[in-house]
Each structure stands twice: as structure tokens, then as C-alpha cells.
Symmetry: C2
């Protein structure tokens, strides 16, 4: 929990209970969460709008990043290489179609894509859907 406070301070954000709680929830969860899921976990202790603004602030500061899947938008904490000094913009996420959880896959870099001439790439976002190890019973 001290870690959460530190993270807020490091990003020049005031330490408020909403920010603490939202960041704690996202840190404890390794799956990406939607606004609605976070709201439910907070058990109506904060206004919807406040949670939206908190998430937006975190994204702007690079503390968390957006995760897209067909069901909508989710959020996950950035790992060190994402929020640190050598901030990169490649994200690889895996969505399990059985359990429905979306996770960041670490340790794998997206191979460089050779785009046609004239295209300039800034950010890469890869979503792989399939079955995760826990739901995969082919063994």
C-alpha cells in the first residue's frame, strides 16, 4: 500500500483514497479490468465519474494502459518497461475465450512488422484470443 502511495507521488498526483483504492485493485489483479468491474470492486464508495477521471488520469500519466477487446475497454497497470524511462508502446494481450480474462503477456516482444512504404508506426497493440493454460485441458 505504501507502494501505491509512492507511485502516486512519483507521478505528481495527490494522494486521495479513490486513487489509492483504484490503483491497489489494478495492482493486485493481474487481469485487465473494465471500469464497471472496478466500480463493483469499490462497492459504490466512489462516484462513477470519479472512477472514470481517475482512470483517465492514470492513463495520461502512464501508470496504466488501455486494453481493447471486443467486449470493450479495460485497464491494466503498466510494467516497468512501459511506465519507466524507456517507455515503449508495444502491448501484447491475451484474451481467454473460456474464462474471459484478458492478461498482459510479458517477456514476449512483438516481432517488427514491415509496413508498406510511407507508413510510420507509433504504437502497436496486439490482441490474441484463444485458450489460456488454466482453461486448456489438452494434456
Amino acid at each position: 500500500m505504501t507502494k501505491v502511495k509512492d507511485t502516486l507521488r512519483e507521478h505528481d498526483l495527490r494522494n486521495t483514497s479513490c486513487r489509492e483504492d483504484v490503483l491497489a485493485i489494478l495492482t493486485q489483479n493481474n487481469a485487465a479490468l473494465s471500469h464497471g468491474e472496478i466500480e463493483r470492486e469499490l462497492d459504490n464508495r466512489f462516484d462513477r465519474v470519479t472512477i472514470y477521471r481517475t482512470l483517465k488520469t492514470f492513463v495520461d500519466k502512464g501508470i496504466i494502459h488501455k486494453v481493447l477487446d471486443e467486449e470493450g475497454l479495460r485497464y491494466a497497470v503498466c510494467k516497468d518497461q512501459c511506465s519507466g524511462p524507456q517507455h515503449h508502446h508495444d502491448h501484447l494481450h491475451f484474451k481467454c475465450t473460456v474464462c474471459g480474462l484478458t492478461n498482459c503477456i510479458e517477456n514476449i516482444t512483438i516481432p517488427p512488422i514491415q509496413l508498406p512504404a510511407g507508413y510510420r508506426s507509433i504504437e502497436t497493440n496486439l490482441l490474441i484470443q484463444g485458450v489460456c493454460p488454466l482453461c486448456n485441458s489438452d494434456n
Copy 2:
């Protein structure tokens, strides 16, 4: 336009004016369109709900596919290799942050990603954000 009718027939869909027009719009546009954009192009000639159902039907039949970006859901017609017999599930889209258009990139296959053990991949969706050739003035 006959082509549109043929496509509908090939997928066992009744030939209705809403389906014709929606498919024609998507075929003429090479950028992916959102529900709202399609609705505007149709100039209120069809009910919102009808357009939603039409798009859903097309996705189910494999005539169009969903395109995700941070602003929401869009739709684009599947190219032959996507809707034909050797239907694949890899999609590469490029979103230009200047003009805002999202296009399918053809002729480029996503390099295979070596997932950690236990993961089974079914569908791959890659969104690259950056600047497209038309908006890129570095020359």
C-alpha cells in the same frame, strides 16, 4: 450493385434495401466505419436498430469483420482470404492518428508469435497506430 446482391445471396441472406445499402457503403469505403458513420451515410433511411442487426448478421456470416480501436468498434468488409473457404483469423489494421481513418492492411501477414507454453491461439488482432502515407509529409 449486382455484386452486393450476389454476396447477400451467397450467404443465404434475403435481399433487403437496408442490407444492400449498408453493404454497398462498406464496400465503397476502404476505411472501417462505425455504426454511427454508417447511420449518417444512410441519412436516417433506416432505424438504428435495423443497422445494428444488419451489421451483426454480416459479422456472423463472415461478410464483414469488426475493427477495434480506442474510439470504439468499426466494421470493414472481409477480403477474399477472410471470407472465402480458407477463412483465416488474422487481422492487421492501421489507424492514422492524423486523419483518424482506420484501414485494413493487405498483403502483410502477422509474423507468428511464440506464446508461452499452454496458450492456444485462435484469433490474432493487430492494431498499429501511426501516420499514414497521405498524412506523412516527411519526404
